[in-house]
Symmetry: C2
Subunit: 441 residues, 2 copies
């Protein structure tokens, strides 16, 4: 598998659609997935929507020989659904829960209960340190009128922050997951531009799979074709992304996806297609970049920075739309709460002071009184909970917008200061021989 010069890593990704008792043929599909993984022996297996820990544990048992190392990320009410199996030792794990993830009262969508997150595992592959990420973003239920877009953009923002800030020490970065975003969607561009992650499908030398690399295909028997309209054939929303480091180059030699059916089986593994990427890692010492190369690199970097500024600005606009929406929802909750309170006071007043009942012959009927009071209390409680929830949503959106504003400022500063930065970077070289190695390090 590995020689002195390069290491090959096969990465597998699948959204398992594993809702017990609700997803069709759930148990049989898990058995198929387990058999296939056992046989294929990928280096790294990234799974989403493994909603039941029991299913994870039975997979773990089945893959004990082929994939001795694994981790299941727990979050939310149901769990994050994220699982990772590996042939290589997992040294460390870390979970980042997205600050926004839909609404608890949209129970039929269920995303909020899933506690969407990004899980990280630090692996040793040969002599390299690989940071492997697995994630699942909020689903898109209606592309034309996507109420969750600001939440998904904030998730993409937090995902890129998490990957960028946690991967500085890694030789290789691999991210797999169901991003619920088309290749050119804002969040996807944000993620790839900011982190420098590259898309297996776009980078591969050989590709075997569905047309345009689509991973949610109309031919899949578990898919309702209506949901895919206007994308007749399907959409690409599952990805394997990767990047190297100054010490390690990474290439995608081949990539494949399943095509809606599995040989010798009556149905496919899931409603999503499975992805497999063959990556090649090559270590080297960073070459001393010549002056010409440096200025060429700088031109590219300037172009990329300018593009990034545009993308972050676009994301900020989207978050502002979300802010506006959350503010109006909170206002509606507050107004309804106040009306409920007013109604309760009015009712109590009518009951207490009979002449308020405007000459009615009978006193306030008891049945109506209690029903109305119950309604008022229900309104008050619901609107209070919603008010608290929307306030938290607002805080998260405002926080993301603040961070984006600061990032745009910082990126623009870098853009303006490019010639300056170059002069600066020559000063950056630390002076020699100042003290000894920090004993704590």
């Amino acid at each position: 598998m590995a020689n002195a010069e390069s290491v090959r890593v096969r990465v597998f990704n699948l959204n398992c659609w594993g809702i017990r008792y609700l997803s069709k043929h759930c148990g049989q599909r898990y058995a198929m997935i387990g058999d296939m993984l056992c046989k294929e022996e990928h280096d790294i297996v990234l799974l989403q929507e493994v909603w039941s820990e029991k299913d994870y544990l039975s997979l773990k048992k089945k893959l004990a020989c082929s994939h001795p190392h694994s981790h299941y990320f727990k979050s939310g009410v149901i769990g994050s659904g994220l699982a990772l199996f590996s042939k290589h030792r997992i040294h460390d794990t870390f979970l980042y829960r997205y600050s926004l993830n839909g609404y608890p009262y949209m129970a039929h969508h269920g995303d909020w209960f899933g506690g969407k997150a990004v899980g990280m595992a630090v692996l040793s592959i040969a002599s390299l340190t690989a940071n492997v990420y697995v994630t699942h973003l909020h689903a898109e239920y209606c592309r034309d009128k996507d109420a969750y877009l600001p939440h998904r953009v904030v998730q993409a923002w937090e995902l890129q922050q998490f990957v960028r800030h946690t991967s500085a020490g890694a030789d290789v970065v691999i991210l797999g997951g169901d991003l619920n975003m088309h290749p050119q969607d804002l969040g996807n561009r944000l993620l790839r531009s900011y982190t420098g992650l590259r898309d297996s499908y776009l980078e591969t030398d050989q590709f075997d799979g569905c047309e345009d690399g689509i991973t949610l295909i109309a031919d899949n028997p578990f898919i309702s074709k209506k949901e895919l309209i206007p994308f007749e054939k399907g959409i690409r929303i599952d990805y394997i992304l990767f990047k190297g480091s100054p010490k390690t180059d990474i290439f995608c030699d081949s990539m494949s996806t399943t095509k809606g059916s599995v040989r010798d089986h009556p149905f496919p593994y899931s409603d999503h297609e499975a992805l497999t990427s063959e990556l090649r890692l090559e270590s080297h010492t960073p070459p001393g970049t010549g002056r010409d190369e440096r200025s060429k690199d700088q031109d590219t970097a300037t172009g990329k920075l300018a593009e990034l500024v545009d993308i972050v600005t676009e994301a900020r606009t989207e978050v502002k739309v979300g802010l506006h929406c959350a503010e109006s929802m909170r206002y509606t909750a507050a107004r309804t709460g106040v009306m409920g309170l007013a109604l309760l006071f009015l009712e109590l007043a009518i009951a207490a002071v009979p002449w308020l009942a405007l000459g009615a012959d009978q006193p306030f009927p008891r049945t109506s009184f209690y029903l109305l009071a119950g309604l008022c209390f229900a309104i008050l409680l619901t609107t209070s909970l919603l008010y608290v929830f929307y306030t938290m949503e607002l805080k998260s959106l405002q926080g993301a917008e603040d961070q984006m504003r600061l990032a745009v400022g910082s990126l623009q500063e870098s853009l303006r200061g490019f010639p300056l930065a170059q002069a600066h970077s020559t000063q950056r070289k630390p002076p020699d021989g100042l003290g000894a190695l920090d004993p704590e390090e």
Copy 2:
């Protein structure tokens, strides 16, 4: 401030106790804090409990000249209360919200509403990259019977994970905050052992402040002495921690705390004491470690690893206690909910089938009927919400426990493999000249 060899950085930390209309002399204290910060011109100012954004904005206005860069971290319902002011440019910020943070129904404690978190800012100090963290952990209301201990231990666990994983690219790491933990508390040991962060108070050459470096002192007029029992003089729960990198050494030349009063003012800045550390950063190229030094380093490292295994194991035990407690709370919620449901059915049955009323002369009185039904619904709603909340708490505790188990395994593996790792690390040197610099990097 800076010369070719070393850079001096003055760091300030204060828990501002800034609850508008509730904290005593809030406005006047903010004015005092602003004046002092403006005059003192610390490089980095880390504040906690700035609960109102208005107060942050007025501080920002006041410090516009002395501290042109700042960030306010937003989270939870009220906000995280975390603010950072800096003389040096802030390039990037990131917020990690702790997965556990008390209970929403403990409204008088208020921690849940604050959305406790750790904020990170990436600063440029001279030619160095500094990762600066500001945080505030869950308060300890009763040391003898601390119901929040598992939550605080998980927060400390997540804090160390966040610092460790995000600081690989930094030359210098500085963390300030109100940790709500005594120096030898489990969470504090966990944080310092795992990250290698060093305590300003323990490392400083010169100290000027309260005895034993205490930061919540009995002499402070805003403190109720009863709350400090059995620590007559006070406790040390606010910290400035730091560490360097293989490229940069860091030393604490002096440290000071306020002593419960401010000259020419009738009261102190806050109920906590303010901390100031003078740090000295020294850059160097990592020296080629000789064989003897390496084996000496290894002995220290082995000792530290063994200690760390013990601490993580202790933390795991504490999390298990929390798990047990959360499970029993969830069970109670479920049982109460079922009882509420049974009561509702019984009531409906009595009302619908008169002979069930055991020969009572009158039918079910309407008033009682509606009151009882309302009570049943209230019980059902409350227990459902509690059940969801406790399930999320359980998931977070289980997640932390899983991560700790994996970490202990990995640390023990490192311990066992130390001679092996040494042989391995010589192989780790990347082979020369394998491919060019990754263009994406």
